[in-house]
């Protein structure tokens, strides 16, 4: 694999993470990180939507009329979001989680990461790198979601994936952790950690 492609995949995971560096997709990362299961399903949904939308639009990139390109992007992303929602609703295992995530699956369409990567990358690159870029950005988003959800479920409910971890030792679940403000505090801490490792992100 050539270095450029490797950079396309690895950059969004850490150095150019969509949440902690680009500060996109904050809203849903506060809302769906109460449980690990919810965060995982949301992360996978965003990866699928982001990857396939980027692929389709990259294939179409030379045919799309410039004046309506945002609308064409919107139609394709909306289609992917509805497909993901419909599929999640159809399986017994994911029906409950789809109900729990409710509007947030539908709101993936407003997740700036998806349209942002299409506009910035997919419309100017070949299908394969575009697909990888979409998947990698979805994964970068998902990674932060899962880190946040790990702490929120562990401290807020005393469980991980619904399995009791702390409660058996007499841990009293902390209700603050369940509330969205705590996710913002946690997110702040993650940005702090990343900026102390990656000095070039610090403003002078």
């Amino acid at each position: 694999m050539d270095a450029k492609l490797k950079e396309t995949i690895l950059n969004p995971i850490f150095k150019g993470n969509p949440i902690t560096v680009l500060v996109l997709g904050i809203c849903s990362s506060l809302a769906v990180t109460v449980t690990l299961k919810g965060a995982l399903v949301m992360a996978l949904s965003v990866i699928v939507v982001c990857g396939i939308s980027s692929l389709i639009l990259s294939l179409l990139r030379n045919t799309i009329p410039g004046r309506v390109r945002i609308i064409v992007q919107l139609v394709v992303v909306a289609m992917m979001v509805i497909l993901v929602d419909q599929v999640l609703k159809s399986f017994e295992a994911t029906y409950a989680i789809d109900k729990q995530l409710s509007v947030y699956i539908g709101l993936i369409i407003t997740n700036c990461i998806v349209m942002g990567r299409i506009e910035a990358f997919a419309l100017g690159n070949k299908p394969w790198p575009s697909f990888l870029d979409g998947v990698a950005n979805g994964a970068g988003y998902g990674l932060i979601l899962i880190i946040v959800a790990f702490f929120r479920e562990l401290l807020g409910s005393g469980t991980l994936f619904g399995i009791d971890i702390l409660n058996r030792f007499g841990y009293v679940p902390n209700n603050l952790v369940i509330l969205p403000p705590f996710a913002l505090i946690l997110l702040g801490c993650i940005v702090w950690v990343q900026r102390s490792i990656q000095k070039d992100l610090q403003e002078k």
């Binding site: 009329p65 004046r67 609703k89």
Partner: protein
């Protein structure tokens, strides 16, 4: 090729939209049966939850097939009544009302331009003695619905479970997500003779000296979710109001017996009946 040409732009967008619409319609049709089966199992698990067969998580965790089986085991009678409390027909085996059907009945109860016929209200009697009825109404952002169960005296609430389409997470969504809210209903008593059959009040329901909720038809609303609380209150009043004649007509009679000085439940005491 000039992609900025007007004719090209119109044809391009039309083709894209038609392809996407056709694809989505096809997917929606082919997945419909599976989605409806999931919805039905979910509805049944909500009814079992309100009838206190376990928590929602416990019942849903059994899986669709086991939920249907448990319902088949535990259901005693299921029938449809009219506003006067008369039984119109028995429900088919395993027949339940989907949220869509509840919505139609909600229009029929309330009247107005969307009314399609006389209300046909489902009643579910479970083998543990509880009677489960649905409620349906408008929350802040979308529909809310749920099930309430009543003990054999047909006025004490045995349990309640509510669901919603799009209430605010952390606030209005608590009607579904917060078990302590649903727990507040348990043991309270609906007042079927009043227009306000049940009330969800702001500022706290009346409490006794020990700080426990008084047994009445009031519970505390959810902080920060005034509109959802009011919507739920209205939904409960509308639906339990529609069921009022059935509940009052079928409630066991409680009369004072002159001979032994005891209350007798569920039996007629002839000596107190005055023939005219």
């Amino acid at each position: 090729m000039n992609t900025n040409n007007n004719v090209y732009t119109v044809i391009y967008t039309t083709v894209i939209v038609v392809i996407v619409a056709a694809l989505l319609a096809f997917v929606s049709q082919s997945l419909k049966a599976k989605q409806e089966a999931n919805e039905k199992a979910d509805t049944i698990s909500q009814m079992l939850t309100s009838a206190q067969y376990g928590t929602k998580a416990e019942i849903s965790g059994l899986g669709n097939a086991a939920v249907l089986e448990k319902y088949a085991q535990e259901i005693d009678k299921a029938f449809v009544i009219d506003l006067e409390g008369n039984v119109l027909r028995d429900l088919d085996e395993m027949e339940v009302y989907s949220p869509k059907q509840l919505k139609r009945q909600n229009y029929n109860i309330k009247g107005g331009p969307n009314k399609t016929g006389e209300p046909e209200l489902p009643v579910f009697l479970f083998k543990n003695g509880r009677t489960v009825v649905p409620i349906y109404g408008a929350g802040l952002w979308g529909p809310i619905w749920g099930y309430m169960s009543f003990d054999t005296d047909l006025k004490t609430i045995g349990g309640a479970y509510f669901d919603h389409e799009s209430e605010t997470a952390g606030l209005g969504a608590k009607i579904k997500d917060d078990p302590s809210f649903q727990q507040e209903f348990v043991g309270e008593v609906a007042d079927f003779s009043s227009k306000n059959v049940f009330e969800i009040v702001k500022g706290g329901a009346p409490k006794d000296a020990e700080g426990k909720s008084v047994v009445d038809n009031k519970i505390d609303a959810i902080s920060g979710a005034t509109m959802t609380s009011q919507g739920l209150d209205a939904a409960i009043d509308t639906w339990l109001g529609a069921y009022a004649k059935y509940f009052m007509g079928n409630a066991p009679k409680k009369q004072h017996c002159g001979k032994c000085g005891h209350h007798h439940e569920g039996e007629e005491v002839e000596s107190n009946e005055v023939e005219e």
